[in-house]
């Protein structure tokens, strides 16, 4: 006996059921997609491509607060397979009342690692002392444009300075939320002097050069310190043109770490329990919790049609046939609602992210649509719906 021709599920009830499923699917997708976007965005923050390694302070609690001897940049630059070496200081500051991260760099070296396109104004050149470039999203947030002069207030140091905005740039990365200024500006705002930087980003031919870089660092740690000296220049090679001068200082080689750019941030996130696995577990927990609503709504839908189901049973439909028919009728609705929920979550998240309303540490997140996660959510919702059908028809 086939029941396909019997249209006993009422449209209004099906629509209500679909709304519940769509909302539950939206919640699960929203949780999973936003967490994954955050994870992916932050892990790609330090470098584009695979051939960027980071020299960092292993003892720091955040990627923005470590201190590495600046003179290590000279030593690393001398390694054969190093293509570019960018000492950088990342400093939090307040610009027009907004919290923003300013990145102090040596423009020539920085631009060898990060490709940026100038939207308005010009690029920063090495000899400009009080100039800066601003990322497109930071520019939209603060209303700053090329040619403006802006007051920057330090968060970690008692600094209050004026910068001339030379250009607005776009990179398609979290850099778009930052201000790029000469290295010394970052050092003033960080308040740690000219002999330290936050990180050194190194572009290499081959990522396996890490061991060589570590041995160079280890060797440098045994050099005598010249801290306290006043104006002796120490920059070498391509750093000679940099306005800032640094001196060899004493440090412990075991405090300095060298990692691939992505691994560097993943390590920091793992320290706070943020791993890909915990994100999946969190999303799964959301799905299970909202899954109870899906289960309840499936049971309610069947309970609403108990009269019709009883009649079908009376005219000879077995439980097996009934379950098969309900599955055939409800499963497509479940799939449709899941797809609708995911689409709704993605477009809502996309809109909110695009409008810059959602930020983590003053950096906008780029939406990341993970196909496996979406498939997993859809299948889980389907499975819970089918479970609901089975339990309700017992």
């Amino acid at each position: 006996m086939g029941l396909t021709q019997f249209k006993y599920l009422r449209l209004r009830r099906i629509l209500a059921f679909m709304v519940v499923l769509t909302l539950s699917s939206m919640l699960s997708s929203l949780t999973a997609l936003s967490l994954l976007s955050f994870y992916k965005g932050l892990s790609a923050y330090m470098g584009e491509g695979e051939n960027v390694i980071i020299v960092y302070d292993m003892g720091s609690r955040t990627p923005f607060t470590g201190l590495v001897p600046a003179f290590l940049a000279d030593k690393i630059m001398a390694v054969d397979s190093v293509l570019a070496c960018s000492p950088e200081v990342i400093a939090p500051c307040i610009v027009k009342g907004e919290p923003i991260f300013l990145r102090g760099v040596l423009p020539e070296e920085f631009l060898k690692i990060n490709g940026i396109s100038i939207i308005d104004g010009k690029k920063l050149s090495p000899k400009e002392l009080n100039y800066a470039m601003i990322g497109i999203r930071a520019s939209e947030k603060t209303g700053l444009k090329a040619g403006d002069k802006v007051l920057v207030t330090g968060v970690l140091s008692q600094t209050c300075l004026e910068l001339h905005i030379k250009g607005v740039f776009a990179s398609g990365s979290p850099l778009d939320d930052e201000i790029i200024a000469p290295l010394h500006v970052g050092q003033w705002l960080r308040g740690a002097g000219y002999n330290h930087v936050t990180i050194i980003r190194v572009k290499v031919h081959d990522i396996n050069v890490q061991e060589e870089v570590l041995s160079v660092i280890s060797k440098a740690s045994t050099e005598p310190s010249r801290e306290g000296g006043q104006t002796q220049p120490s920059g070498q090679g391509s750093f000679e043109q940099a306005p800032v001068r640094w001196l060899p200082i004493r440090f412990r080689a075991e405090d300095i770490g060298v990692e691939g750019a992505e691994r560097f941030l993943i390590d920091y996130m793992e320290r706070y329990g943020v791993t890909r696995e915990t994100i999946i577990v969190l999303s799964a927990a959301t799905l299970i919790f909202s899954g109870s609503v899906i289960l309840l709504s499936t049971q309610a839908l069947i309970s609403q049609h108990s009269r019709e189901i009883r009649i079908l049973r009376f005219i000879g439909a077995s439980r097996k046939i009934l379950v098969r028919d309900l599955t055939l009728k409800i499963a497509p609705i479940s799939l449709l609602a899941s797809a609708l929920g995911t689409t709704l979550a993605a477009s809502l998240l996309g809109y909110i992210l695009e409008s810059g309303l959602l930020q983590i540490l003053s950096h906008s997140i780029q939406i990341y649509l993970d196909t496996y996660t979406i498939i997993l959510i859809t299948l889980s919702i389907l499975a819970i719906t089918l479970l609901g059908i089975r339990t309700a028809t017992k």
Partner: protein, 375 residues
């Protein structure tokens, strides 16, 4: 009487199931809020470690330093206040500079006493401080970038006026003045043709009441002037945390939408399964409003119990998971907690969304005709 009717609904087996569903959703909110509270406390604790004892304050009369204009006599008025320590009036402006064939634009800072100013900034000085209108000292970054040494003549131009100065010293402070040319303030006034300061820097005496002192200062300021406080890590941390809270608020909207839909289903199911009782009550004379109120009251009880249970479940669950994570990975140290106002917020918003969700079915139930099915 109504309470008696309510018991008919509450005694159903499904009530505990409904409470559990709302509890699971509230648990999601509680766990997210408790993790956020922990992160917030961590950020604030980290920030407070950097909060300086003696802060520097700056008075500005414009959006940026070089566009700011203030009466330099304001500095004298500030000195007369009892809580104020050091006060310096400075004129800062962008000037075209030429040294032989080299031309560039640089910030020039005019201060009343160059030697005192440099010593206050703990500068290493190579040479001597500028003492008159024909002398200047330059920061080491300007010196290195444009190869200017002691004894060099620099030509400053500002709005058609010009001044030739001799460099008497090079300095290094590792602060923002290293990229500037420092001149006596009279030279700055002479070059700009305006006897106005750009900013007034001041600090407070030790033990001074900050809000009282700043109130006194604010009382002396002209209408367009403002006080800028440097180094505020706690404020920065709070602003950063606001971004996370905004994200959480956005996410909890989605949770509340699911709570509303769960409430819709719970109410629909309740009406479906107690339709006989509802109709019987109507036959006995219960008004439509009473039926509507009964269903809403039932949902309020379910939502209240669910959100209290959920908050507890969420918090305990998160704490247990954190403890397990800390045990497995010692570097992870998390202690999530829920503040009372957050628990209250979860309770109230859950009840509100549950009421919103159950209004359509409750309205439908109130409009039911009892005669059809009873007969």
């Amino acid at each position: 009487m109504d309470l008696l009717y309510l018991k008919i609904f509450l005694r159903r087996n499904d009530t505990s199931h409904s409470i559990l569903i709302i509890a699971l959703l509230a648990a999601m909110l509680a766990s997210a809020y408790s993790i956020n509270s922990f992160l917030n406390a961590q950020i604030e604790a980290l920030a407070s470690l950097r909060e300086p004892a003696g802060k520097k304050y700056v008075i500005l009369g414009g959006e940026s330093i070089s566009n700011s204009r203030l009466n330099p006599l304001l500095a004298d008025s500030l000195r007369s206040l009892q809580h104020i320590g050091n006060v310096t009036a400075e004129r800062i402006f962008w000037s075209n500079v030429s040294v032989g064939p080299i031309r560039f634009e640089s910030l020039v800072r005019g201060v009343s006493n160059v030697k005192e100013f440099l010593s206050m900034r703990k500068a290493y000085l190579n040479g001597s401080a500028a003492t008159n209108m024909a002398e200047a000292v330059i920061g080491e970054l300007v010196s290195k970038a444009y190869s200017i040494g002691v004894g060099s003549k620099i030509h400053l131009t500002y709005n058609g006026r010009s001044l030739i100065l001799t460099v008497t010293g090079l300095f290094r402070t590792q602060t923002e003045i290293d990229s500037e040319i420092i001149v006596p303030i009279v030279a700055a006034f002479n070059l700009t043709g305006e006897e106005e300061a750009s900013l007034i820097e001041f600090s407070l005496k030790a033990g001074a009441d900050v809000s009282e002192a700043l109130k006194e200062v604010a009382g002396l300021l002209p209408r367009d002037a403002r006080i800028v406080c440097t180094q505020q890590p706690t404020l920065f941390a709070r602003q950063i945390n606001t971004q996370i809270i905004r994200f959480l608020a956005f996410w909890s909207l989605a949770v509340h939408a699911v709570v509303a839909s769960a409430s819709y289903i719970i109410a629909t199911r309740l009406i479906e399964e107690t339709s006989y009782e509802i109709r019987m009550l109507m036959a006995l004379g219960a008004r439509r409003l009473s039926i509507f109120t009964l269903i809403i009251s039932y949902i309020i009880i379910v939502a209240t119990s669910g959100s209290i249970l959920g908050s507890a479940l969420g918090l305990i669950g998160t704490q247990m998971i954190s403890a397990a994570l800390s045990w497995l990975t010692p570097s992870i140290r998390m202690a999530p907690f829920l503040e009372p106002q957050q628990a209250l917020q979860i309770l109230l918003t859950t009840i509100f969304s549950a009421i919103m969700g159950c209004i359509p079915p409750a309205h439908r139930a109130a409009k039911m005709k009892y005669t059809e099915r009873l007969l």
